[in-house]
Structures are given as C-alpha cells and as structure tokens.
Symmetry: D2
C-alpha cells in the first residue's frame, strides 16, 4: 500500500499535465483531472480544453490555469509547451474519438509524452500510423483502459501469469450498460450525441465505447491474444446510426475460447463490466461494480474471496492500493493508478533509472492499436454474417 504523496525524494516537484478537450460540459476530462490529482503526482498546468475558443478560455479559468497556458488550439499548445522551460511533462487527450490522432501526433512531434483516451483512433490506418510514430519517438504513450488500474484486475493478471489457473480454457467477458436504452441522443445529452455519431465515434458504437474495454480486459488478464472473432452487431434503438449491442465469440492464440457481450441497452445495468476466466486448475471472477473482491476458485477447494489489500492480496495489487482492505476504492482510484504509473515512468526516465516494474502495467499504444483492430474486425465480421475474422 502506497499512501499518496510519496514522490521520490530526489525529484521534488509535481509533474505538469496539459489537457486537450475536457472543457465545460464534458465528462471524462474531469475524471482524468481527479485521477491525475488523487495521488499528488501531477498538477494541471496547461489546456486546450475545447475546440470552441471562448469555451476553451472559460474552462481554463474554471480550472485556475495561468492565462498564458490556456490555449485555443492543441497545435498552439503543443508548440508553446514544447518550447517552454517549464513545459508540460505529458498531455492528456480526452476529446471525442475522431480527434485523438491529430492531437496525439502534434504532441509526440513536440516531444511530449501522451496519455490518450480510448479508442485510440477511428480508423485502423490512423492507428497504425500513430503507433509507428510513437515507436519512433520512444515517448511514453499511455491509453486509458482505466479498468486495468484496479488493484485486483492486476492481481488477476499476475495470478494467471504465475500459473495459478493452469492453462486458460474459457474467457467470459461482458460490458453492459443501459444509458442508451432509449433515444437519449435526441434529448440534448452531449455524451450520447457524439457517441452515436459515426463521424466523431468511428464505425462502431457500443463496440467502440465499451466493447474495447471488455476486449482489453480479456487480453490484459489472460496475457493471451484473441486471434479471431465472430460477431453480430445490432442497433435496437430506432434511428440510431451505430450499434448499441454486440455478441461475439472469440478464439485465443493459446486455444482458449471466449465470449464477449457489450450492450448499452441492457435495462437496469449501470456499468456492468465483468470477467470470468476458467483454467485447467482454477477459475477467477471479477466485477467492476464490486471491484474490491476477486473470487478465486481452485478446483477441489472452496472459492476464496480475495479482497483488495486484504488477506491473499499479492504485492501487485497492494502496490496499486491506497487504503486498507474494507475501505472501498473505486473507479477514480483505479483511474488514478494509471496517472501515477505514468508519472513514475517519466520520473524514472528523468533520473536515468528503471521504473518500478508495477508501473509498467499501464496500457500502451500497442493496446490501443489492438482495440482499433478489434473494432474493425467486429464490424467486418458482423457485415459478413458473423464470419470468423482475424483481429
């Protein structure tokens, strides 16, 4: 358990964060800011918070940014911050999906580390190009598959890696919500509007918005790669232009078989990201809505409830925890973990040392690229009557 504020003594300042998107009326930007703040490794130093200049200015003032670091465009911000002595250490890109690529490119070219929301881009081509650029620059490029920041998700991954389950056989992953069960995109919800708009969201709806998280979680925990899928995407709400429900079967490189369900019309479900992994020797269950417990069921023994920072919690999950067992941590803490891990990676580079190995659990652009390939495969399979398609 690491209580926040434990900066390395030699590196005696908070890192500076810039933000693209996330101005007034946005949702995920505020989450990123809380996440950055929570462990006291970051301070918000600059922002191009809206594509609308006036909104950008007002949003910057809300956040107490220095006037000279409130930018109208991300291009301007990338250039100026790249040149400042006290320029930002990293940028968080929290715009709608279609704007990720160009913004990320600008900051990479300015030599600034990137923390980008998912899905990485709206097309495979963009994603490939961006990944290529990121590899060339050698900069840190984190993709906020934030659910990997939950301590017990990391413990699940490490338990699989250590062989606690034996060879994996079956992966059941799902991510269900109900907030798009009716046509809310016509009621003035900004969130719903862009998520159901192919121009801003890309070719997939639920699959891109939440299916990518489910897919990422399955690959993250199993350490395995899904090589092909058979998918049926469907739109239940009349007039909607993107899928709001998808069913898929998955085949993994190891021979494991999986199912993935994502839905935004599952009446009564709030944010039901859930994964179950069954191996030759044991099974694991984790549910995002009750994230402080990991059910571990070895064959032949009663299931054990491993609790965050409790008995049975290993060093991997303890390293990602703040408070003792029984004091629930949640969504924001999981998200914060990614920011703290990126900070650790950046400081380690500054100090010319290896980062704490646990900090390397943060998803990178390679995971972001997997997500885009997943979306593209799912759409293609569904168009081909659920034919098996390579990912």
């Amino acid at each position: 358990m690491t209580i926040a504020g434990s900066r390395d003594e030699k590196f005696n300042r908070r890192l500076r964060l810039g933000m693209v998107g996330g101005g007034r009326g946005a949702f995920i930007g505020a989450v990123h800011r809380i996440a950055a703040r929570l462990d006291d490794r970051w301070e918000l130093a600059a922002g191009a918070l809206s594509s609308d200049p006036e909104r950008a200015r007002l949003s910057g003032e809300d956040l107490l940014l220095s006037p000279d670091r409130i930018y109208s465009t991300f291009q301007e911000m990338a250039q100026c911050e790249g040149e400042r002595e006290d320029g930002i250490d990293a940028v968080a890109i929290v715009t709608p999906n279609h704007a990720h690529a160009s913004a990320a490119e600008a900051f990479l070219k300015a030599g600034i580390h990137v923390i980008c929301d998912k899905p990485l881009t709206t097309t495979r081509q963009e994603a490939d190009r961006l990944a290529q650029l990121a590899r060339e620059t050698g900069l840190i490029f984190a993709v906020t598959h934030n659910y990997t920041g939950y301590p017990l998700v990391r413990q699940a991954r490490s338990m699989v890696a250590e062989g606690a389950l034996g060879g994996i056989r079956v992966v059941q992953v799902e991510y269900a919500q109900d907030w798009l069960a009716t046509r809310v995109e016509e009621t003035g919800s900004k969130q719903a509007e862009w998520r159901t708009d192919p121009v801003r969201s890309g070719p997939a709806g639920a699959v891109g918005d939440i299916g990518t998280h489910a897919f990422n979680l399955a690959e993250f925990i199993t350490g395995d790669e899904a090589t092909s899928l058979s998918a049926e995407l469907h739109t239940f709400v009349q007039g909607r232009r993107l899928d709001d429900n998808a069913h898929m079967m998955l085949r993994f490189a190891s021979g494991a078989k999986g199912m993935l369900w994502c839905s935004q019309v599952a009446a009564g479900v709030e944010n039901g990201l859930r994964i179950r992994v069954y191996g030759e020797r044991a099974g694991l269950e984790w549910d995002q809505e009750n994230p402080n417990v990991l059910l571990f069921s070895p064959l032949g023994e009663p299931p054990r409830m491993i609790r965050r920072n409790g008995y049975g919690a290993n060093e991997v999950s303890r390293a990602a925890s703040r408070v003792p067992g029984g004091h629930p941590e949640g969504y924001l803490e999981g998200f914060a973990q990614l920011y703290s891990d990126v900070a650790e990676q950046i400081v380690a580079r500054m100090e010319g040392r290896d980062p704490n190995p646990f900090s390397l659990e943060v998803p990178t652009i390679e995971h972001g690229l997997r997500g885009v390939r997943f979306i593209e495969a799912a759409v293609r399979s569904s168009e081909a009557k659920a034919a098996w398609v390579e990912i």
Copy 2:
C-alpha cells in the same frame, strides 16, 4: 401458496407412478422419486429400475415395491401395468438418453401417460416420430425441464407475457458447471461415463446435458422461439469424445438477440444456470443457485428484488410455492412442481374438467422436440465453422 396434500376432495387417492431406470447407483431417478413424493400426489407403484435384472430386483426391494410390480424390462412393465385394474397412472423415464425413445413409445402404446427426462432422444428422427405418436395418442407427455418448475421462473415468464419488459431485445443465458473439468469419466463415475459416451448420450455432451436446459429456459421465459444459431462446440479435456464447452449466438423470431454459454469445465461453478432478459422497458435476472429472488429492473426505477412468496410475487409464482417467503425452496421443490402439475392434469382428465391453468406450465414433448432440434443445430453449426443454422 399451496400446502401439500391438497388433493381434490372427490379424487381420493394418490396417483400411481411407475419408473424406468433409476436403480441403485443412479442419480436422477432418486430425484424424480423425491419430487413425486414431496407434494403427496403420487406413490411409487411399479418399476423397471435397471436393464440388469438382478439390479432391477434389488432396487425395487429397496423402494418397498410389491414383488409383482418389480419388472425386469420396461416392455413387460408397460404391458402388465397397462392391463392391471390398478395400473400406474404415469411412468417416469429416467434412463440414459439413448433409451428414452423406445421406453416412451412402449408406454404411450399401452395408454400410459409419460414423464420423460431430457434430452428427449438422441436423434432428431426419433424425436419427431415420438412426438407424432404422442400427438396421436393424446396422452400427457411431460419432459422434465425441471428448472421451469421454480416459482420465480414462472413469474418471469408471466411478466414477459404481460409486457412488463416491453419488446424483448437481448437474452443472455448460461449454464456452467465444473464437475467434468478433469477426466472423471475414467475414475468410475457412472454419471460421467454415460454422459461422455456418444452411444448413450447422443451427438452432444454439455450441449445435450445442460445446454438444452439453458435453451429451454430462454424460450420458456421469453415465450419466443430461437430461429437460428451460430455455435462453437469444443472439447477441452483430452480424450473426451463429446463437447464439454459451447458458445452460441442466437436469433429469435421477434428480432431479439441472444447468447448461450454452456460448460462443464468452468472451474469453481457448481450448477450455474443463469438467465438475464432485457426488454425495451425493463430487465430481469434469475440465477438457479439463488432461486428465491428475481431481480426486476424497470428503466428509470431502482431494481426490485422480487422474492418467492414475498411482496411482489404474483399468483403464478405463489401457486408453485409451498412455504412462506424467506423459507428457501430449492431444486427438489422446483422438480416436485412438475410432478404435482402432471398429477393435476391427469386428475382433471379423470374428472372431466379443465385443469388448473397453472398446471399447464409443465414442458411437453413439443419442448422436448425443440431441445433435440437445438442440439442438432448446434452440432451442425459448429461443424460448419459456426455458420448460422436454423433450429
């Protein structure tokens, strides 16, 4: 709530039950006998309890059967009981799957009502022929999809029928176990042996044994018909000859979409039959391992925990309950409900009246036939790389 023993006053005797299969060492036969006994509508009067004559005799003595009604073969039993003045009112067929059809045929031809375990038969041809025969005789033919006997499963069905969910969109059904996670069929388990033997089980393993229950439950609760499926069957345990895991996508006549997962290698899961149904206006969840609660989630309202015989339980579920809410009923009570309902149907015929309408919830041979078609479609789809196949 009907407390047992409430036989109609004019019909003053217990019905007589015969049994084929279910002798020493069997499992499901004993369950059928408890189920028949529980509500005091039946007495066991005759049996051909094993294909081995000596075992048949000993098993009959265990059960205190009259010696002249302990039979060596079902043929003999069908004939004798059909001719006796005090012959059995119905026969329960609880053999391995491959023997269902011939036994059922014998009793139908002897004019005796049939209660048959599932899956109905091991081939589609047999199933069709048997269904044809059953229709011609007009006799009662119940198939023990016993999970439909749970009070809250029936309430779920009636709530869907009454429109409490609006049009159905998504059906997630699964039936997972772990008892075949290792090669137990080689350790002397009679149960495992025949269930993994294509000769006695038919062309499917997990799909036939438990997938059929999941499929039945989905159609039972939604009142909808699954018209096609795309399936991947797989055998994880080396040397096993039948599938022990299957993933499927389903399309329903109404336009609803579904997923079905069945597995007998899901480490840590005992008997995880679970269904979730999402409609335009509400969702429903039910889990066989916690069967006394039905979660009902209307859009816009907090989810409600409807408890068996508790507040919110309707007349359909109350009619299938014995004891007050909070006094859990379970597997045996759900199974017993089918026996009591068949008794009601038989007595109503004897008395020339309409049966209590709730007693008609019992699955019939038509449901059994659906199960066989489901198995056949699943096997065919899997062989064709998960192509969509009509059910």
Copy 3:
C-alpha cells in the same frame, strides 16, 4: 450425500407417524408432513388433527388417513395407537404452544416416541416436569429446532468442535421477520392470532416464536452454554399483548460474549435467521435465507465460501445433504433431516444397534428445556430493566 429411500435393508418398512394438530388452516403441520415424507422414511398413519372433532375428521380425510385412525382427541389417539400392533412409531405434536405439554405427556405414557414443535411448553414448570418424564421413559423426544437440520449449520458446529475457530469470543445471532409489523392478528390470520395471545403462546411473543430458534442455534453451533442474559423486550404494535422485538446481551460459560436480536417488525426482512461466530483463529457466517453457503474466514487467509456438498463440505454436512452442490436445498430439506434422523434412531433401537452418529444431531427435550429457560430469563430480565439474569 444420501439419496432418499436408503432404508436399512433389514428393516423393510416405512415408520408410522401420528400427528396432533396440523389440521385444515394450520401451517406448520403441513411442513412436518412434507418433512416426514421427503426422505421416504415415514408414512402418516394416524392423526388427532384438530381440537374441533369435525375439523379433525375432515382434515384426516384430506390426508387419506384410514377412518379408524382419525381421532377426535390426542388422549384417544395415544391410547389406541399405544395398543395397536401396527401402532404409530412416533407422534408429531404441532399444536399451539400451550397444548404441547399435555399431549407429549400422553404419548410418552403410551410408550410412543415424540417429535414436538418448539417452544417446548409455556412454563418452566411444565418443561421441567416433561423433561423429567421423558428421561424416565427413555423414549426419543425430539424438538423441532429445524434450523439445526441444515447441512452447513451442522458443519459449522463440527468445525467449532474441532477447533477450527480456536476459542470462541463473540457470537452475533439474530432472527428478524416483518410479518407482524402491522396488527395482522386482527385481520383473521390464525397464525398471527395465537402467536400474539399469551394464553396459547406463553409469556413471550417474538422471543418465544423465533428468539428460541436463534438461541438454540447459538448454543448448537458453539457447543457452549449461555449462562446469563440481559434483555429488553418491547412491543411496538399498539394493542399487542406480547413482545414483537427483543434485544439481548449474552454471556457464555466459556467466556464468550454474544448479542441476540429477534424481531417480527423488521420491515423488509422475511425470515432473517443469521449467525456469526468469531473465534481466536477464524470466523464463521451463516444466513438461513441463503443456506447453501457457509463463510469461513481464517485469520490471515481470504474468506472461503464453503458450499453444501461442494468442495470443503465435510462428512457431517454431506450426510445431511440430498443433491449435489449448486442444486439448492432449503427449508423443507433441513426440516426433513430431523425426521430422517429420528427414523434412524428408532430403527437402530429396533435393531439393537447404535444409530448413525450424525442422526444424534437432532435437538432433544434438553434443548427444548433450554429454550423455555431462555424465554423465562428474557422476560424476567426485561422486567428488571435488563438486569443480568441466569438462564
């Protein structure tokens, strides 16, 4: 796991049960009859089912009793059955509380084993006298503290006895319901009427009806004796003559401390009997409304979910189970266990052998006597402003 019907081969008949009380309109009588029937060890052979002769006759006919064994009074029944060659092997006494003692006495004097509902009697004097008589006769006298028939309750008891928890420190037991939250005794409910009537119920309401179960469970599982208590009984519903809520602190002989809460006005709770036991080395939790799991939490290890007939279930709980893990058993099965155990005890006597040791788990008149002493102490303590009173 014992599948029903496994009578000892040498003793080739069902035992004969008589019943006092339990006629039309009664509740618990029907439960006793299902319980007796479930494992096929008993047949109902005689009854004095109501103190009203006409109702007694009709009730006997409902149950298909032979006319000569439908009695108008328990006195007549005790005498006749005691003299018959094929007389009943045991009697079940299921009347309101005030009638237990005289009926039990009559059957003991007729040499007939007794199964009596709880609380044993309405006064300590009666209980003492009856216990004395029972001891003198040497007959079996079971008291249906039916919750001790649940397999995992028995496992909890055996785990404590084997030292799995170390020395016991704290016992939290509670039994809450809400069916008396309003003045239902004035709405025609027979059940509510007699339970709130001091003449028929005795000096306590909730304490006698359900508090005794909670108390019994605490002593049963810990194997310890509560030596004194401090209680506050209260009546919340205006006009009611007996307590409908009670709070108590308990001191055990071993030095353990406990709390007991019973209530029949706990809005929203159906039948919430729950116990938690904490020892030096581990804790245990069990909840009657979810009875197929026992939570076992050894200090320093993740809590384990021991499931009925599942991994971690011991021979004690397996002996009291019927169906495999994951196939829930409930209230009726737990109740049935007591009947089957009494049958085993009776047959063992007939055969001159020791009974299966697990059958001796059935609560006896000594436990019934403890219950009466508990009621008397609770009432006395409450009258003395919650002074500590010996039990």
Copy 4:
C-alpha cells in the same frame, strides 16, 4: 452529480489547508490529504506534521511544503498562520486523540477554522470546554465522522427525515474489524500501539476508535438522539489495556430501540460498518463495504436497490457524487465530501452568502461532543454491570 473543480466563479483560488499530525508513518493524515485534494477545493499550505521536529521537517519536504510553512509545533503554526496575509483557511488535526483538544484550541484562538479527527477528545471535560470555545468563536469546526460523507448515507438520512420509513422502531448498527484480533500492538504497528494505549486513546479502545462512528451513523441517519445505553465492554486479547469488543443496547428519544456492536477482533471482517433501520412503513440497509447501494424495503413491496447516482437516487445523494452510477465511489470520495463541504461553507462566509444547504451535512463539534459522551457513558455502564446510563 458535481464534477470536481466547480469552484464558485467569483472565488478564484483553492483554499489553504494546514495540518497537525499526519507525518511519515501515520495513516489517517494521508487520507485527509487525498480527501482535501480530490475535489480540487484545497491545497496543502502548511504543516506541523509531527511532534518530532526532524520528522516534521522531513514530512513537510515530502509534501512539497514551502520551508517557511513547515512548523515544529502546532502552537507556532497557529500563531504564524493566523498572522499571515495568505494564512491557512483551515487546519486539519489528525494526531492521536489525546492531542486533539490543545491543538484545536490553539487554532480556534488564532481564528482559524478546524477540521478535527474523532473522537474529539479523551475526556468529557475537554470536549465540553472545547465545544464552548468553538461556539464562542463562531468558527467552523468539523469533526471527520467521514462515513456521513457517503452519498447514500445522506440519502438514508433524508429519507428518514421525509418520513419514508414512518416512525423509527429499531436501529441495528455495528462496526466490526479484525485487525486487532491478535496482539499486533507488540509487533511494531504504530497504529495499533496508540490505539491500545489509554494515554493516547482515552478510556476506550474499540468503542472510541470505531464505536463512535457507529453511534454517530445511527444518530445521523435517524435524526434521533440516543438517550441512554446499557453496555458490556470486554478485552479479549490478553494483556491489552483497552476494550476490543463491546455490546450495547440503546434507547432513543423517539422511543426507538437499538443495538450497537463494535469489535476489533471479529476474525475475517475488514471494516464492517453496517446499519439497518426499521420504521413503521419501511426498512433501510447500508453497508460501508458495499457503499454504492442502499436497500430500501417498503412494507408490502419488493425491496429496492437504490444505487448511487442511479435511478431512485435523490438530490441529496447526487450532490455528494462525482461519477455516474455503476462507477463505484468509495472511502476516499466519502471523506473528500466533508472537505468539499467545509470549503463551501468557508467560501460562503467569505462571500457573505448562505452555503449550499447540502454542505451543512458535515458533522460539527456538537456531533464530536456526542461521541465523547457516548464513550463516557459506555465505559460507565460497563463498569456498572451494564446498567442503563444516560448519554
């Protein structure tokens, strides 16, 4: 739902927080700092972080404090900060209990608002004197009964106040942990050391450390006052000088009856603060370890699961939420709510306006005083064999 960072536009800075205690090796200080930071209303500006000057200095450097605002003593800090133009707006006192009173007094006298950990003081006299002083100064004095910051705790309180439960009858509250189940105070745990030391903790152990939270929660939610109690405190771990388990019965001014259990030896329980409130018309249940759901059970209707920021969440709980339903918030967010509410109260005073009414939910010194009276009464009752004692 208020996303963090929404400072009032006219008041364009973060508030400045000082801290007494909470240096290296401490636990709750770091929690307070995260809590203050989370909603971006505060910045840590000064500290007297340890009574050891060297540790105070190092701790201040860890936290990036300006060297001139790292103090060796709280007296010095109170004086200097009280005089600075940019002095702290409030001080957080997070020392062991015995040091609360003198520190709080110093800051009140310096005109600085106080946020103090609980229990307020170690004696009733100190508490009375401090409360008197606080009333005279008119300064804000918050006591961090942090569990009142959970959104659904506040909703529970408002539902009771609005009469959703009718008159309250029964309150069952408990707070169990197991971290003191063995003699950890001798293993080098600073936390355990002072909590089991009467000099630093005061006259009670578990009762003071966690019992006060349970007591506060009961009064907070019911809006009722417990007027007397009957308690039995006990020490199970040999050699320990303070209670590690306590059982109590409570009487409320309204006539409601309650039980309170607190324990730090409940093997397997991490941080089990749980409350159940039963009224004439409905019941409520809330469990700190699963804080995003509030079970509301109106008589005659199925229980409803009210989820944080979900359907059925009212404006009170929404005002205390950050992220949408299904994205769990936990302990730190609940704690943060108190800090944000105090900030709102301070800013409102600065701006000469009424504060947002929801911000007044924060417990004050009057609640702190209740806690001290509760401790004192519990100890006195236990010494008098659980006699009823006024609170």
